[in-house]
């Protein structure tokens, strides 16, 4: 199943851009058992990068303890209305997804 799009919000106020990202992902821990008692294999986002225009503004590494449908909020100096914020993630199965939003 293709991954669902992320929801990215970016707002600039007084020269600081606040970015909030909501990602659709199971974040399966690898410790849960299904109805038949079999372990459900781990399936989770391992890495994420956020870029402002072409510059990396955040790098993240996740473990299985990050909640299902991960949420992330951070702030960086700079950014102007209309600038692009691009967020990409990769999971332990090698699946990736990239979405973008304009700074409001």
């Amino acid at each position: 199943m293709a991954a669902n799009p992320m929801k990215i919000r970016a707002n600039n106020k007084d020269g600081v851009t606040e970015v909030k990202v909501l990602i659709s992902h199971e974040m399966e821990t690898g410790q849960r058992k299904d109805a038949s008692g079999a372990i459900v294999p781990a399936w989770f986002i391992t890495e994420l990068t956020a870029k402002h225009n072409e510059r990396v503004v955040l790098g993240a590494e996740f473990g299985t303890a990050v909640s299902k449908n991960p949420y992330l909020a951070f702030r960086f100096k700079g950014g102007a209305k209309g600038d692009k914020i691009v967020v990409s993630w990769k999971d332990n199965k090698g699946e990736t997804r990239t979405d973008e939003a304009a700074i409001a």
């Binding site: 990050v66 299902k68 702030r75």
Partner: protein, 155 residues
């Protein structure tokens, strides 16, 4: 059990080396990202995790904060973050002492990104939560207990 622990420790030192390389600017954040820190995320205890992160035994600092509520209505989603007023913070991480693997997430902060990151984590039970911060190449830490309560009709 012992064997497994030794393996973790061994790969831990490898990751520490990677950390040093990253700190020295030999590899860029982008490259570091391509190599998820397996040893740190698979370490079980706090001590092993800190070792794998190359953090040794960080000093407690009142300039580092674990942000978020003290009580979680459900352990599956616990809003938690790290903030710090220390200078030149290049990395922050969230560790949960009583989780099967202590390290929940780590963040590399390029210049200009504030030491203020929020996310949501799973907690198996009430536990101390640690915020780890790397400032001017040195590691600092803060902690607070977050209570995970039972809820709803199912107990």
């Amino acid at each position: 059990m012992n064997n497994q622990r030794r393996t973790v420790l061994k790969s831990g030192s490898g990751a520490a080396l990677l950390g040093i390389l990253a700190a020295a600017g030999i590899i860029t954040p982008g490259m570091a990202l391509a190599d998820w820190n397996k040893a740190a995320f698979e370490a079980k205890s706090m001590a092993d995790t800190l070792k794998a992160l190359g953090a040794g035994s960080p000093a407690d600092s009142k300039d580092v904060q674990v942000t978020g509520p003290d009580i979680a209505e459900n352990g599956a989603v616990v809003p938690v973050g790290v903030s710090s007023t220390l200078p030149n913070v290049t990395m922050v991480a969230i560790l949960i002492e009583k989780n099967p693997n202590a390290l929940a997430a780590s963040f590399t902060l390029p210049e200009g990104t504030e030491a203020n990151v929020q996310t949501r984590v799973k907690m198996g039970q009430t536990s101390n939560v640690y915020a780890l911060v790397k400032s001017d190449g040195k590691f600092f830490m803060a902690t607070k207990e977050i209570k995970v309560t039972l809820g709803g009709c199912g107990g």
